[in-house]
Symmetry: C2
Subunit: 133 residues, 2 copies
DNA sequence: CAGCATCCATATTGATACTG
DNA sequence: CAGTATCAATATGGATGCTG
């Protein structure tokens, strides 16, 4: 067994395996956990948002990155894009059912991390003290 | 409310907030979800591993990236590094209790993604057909 | 074995300007 | 408003060579 193909999370022989180099699920994982993917899904979990609303809510994204992120998530079927042919244009972004499930897991991870941050900070101090010595 | 500070996952006013630009938890999230962080935690979830074992199991990591990833995770208190002063040297990596909790959430996310991949693939085809038209 | 230091190609990202 | 296009800055990643 060269890669982490077997023994993964739920199933011993999943049809798709994130741990394998060429698996499509690996790219999806990257879209989801990427720098802006996680924040974008997190923001949309709270409700439908328009492009510029999203931009304001996700602290630090550039127009380009948000656009790119949204395209990737839409392509993966996690985000729904609803463009109304009005003038001025109005585009609403929301989560698909699958996107919602994924966002939930993501939030579980995030909240786990947030509540563990005191421990993380303490570990960092110990590490830095030890290394600088 | 300019950022995603409020209304986050579990608590309305978390002490640490991943969504805020300068929050330390954001960097931890990046270590955890980063390209190699997720795979590394996933691998260690299955048991203690030595450096080169880890390198073989995480398909595609370079020595440098694995080293870097391991340092970041160790500093954050998620991974434990146990170096025995033997010759040849032997270093065992394992998860701390916090690391284990985080890895669990990560695996939940991953397995959610893996079981949704059929849907993802279908969405991709629809998207590509639509866009190329 | 377990790594660190260095160099370099390339991928990501961010500003800026422009369009429908 | 909702983006796309382009260019420059930067970060990332990998190959190589060396050490304890």
């Amino acid at each position: 067994m060269a890669t982490l193909s077997a023994g993964t999370a739920s199933s011993p022989h999943p049809a798709f395996d994130v741990f394998a180099r060429g698996c499509p699920s690996r790219s999806t994982l990257e879209h989801v956990t990427g720098r802006w993917g996680a924040l974008t899904l997190g923001a949309l979990y709270e409700g439908t948002l328009r492009f510029n609303e999203l931009r304001r809510r996700v602290d630090g994204v550039s127009e380009k990155m948000l656009s790119q992120t949204l395209h990737a998530l839409e392509r993966d079927g996690l985000v729904l894009r609803d463009a109304r042919p009005t003038n001025p244009p109005r585009v609403d972004y929301s989560l698909t059912p699958l996107g919602r499930k994924v966002a939930e897991r993501l939030r579980a991870l995030i909240s786990c991390l947030e509540s563990g941050m005191d421990e993380v900070m303490a570990a960092r101090e110990r590490y830095d003290a030890r290394e600088s010595a």
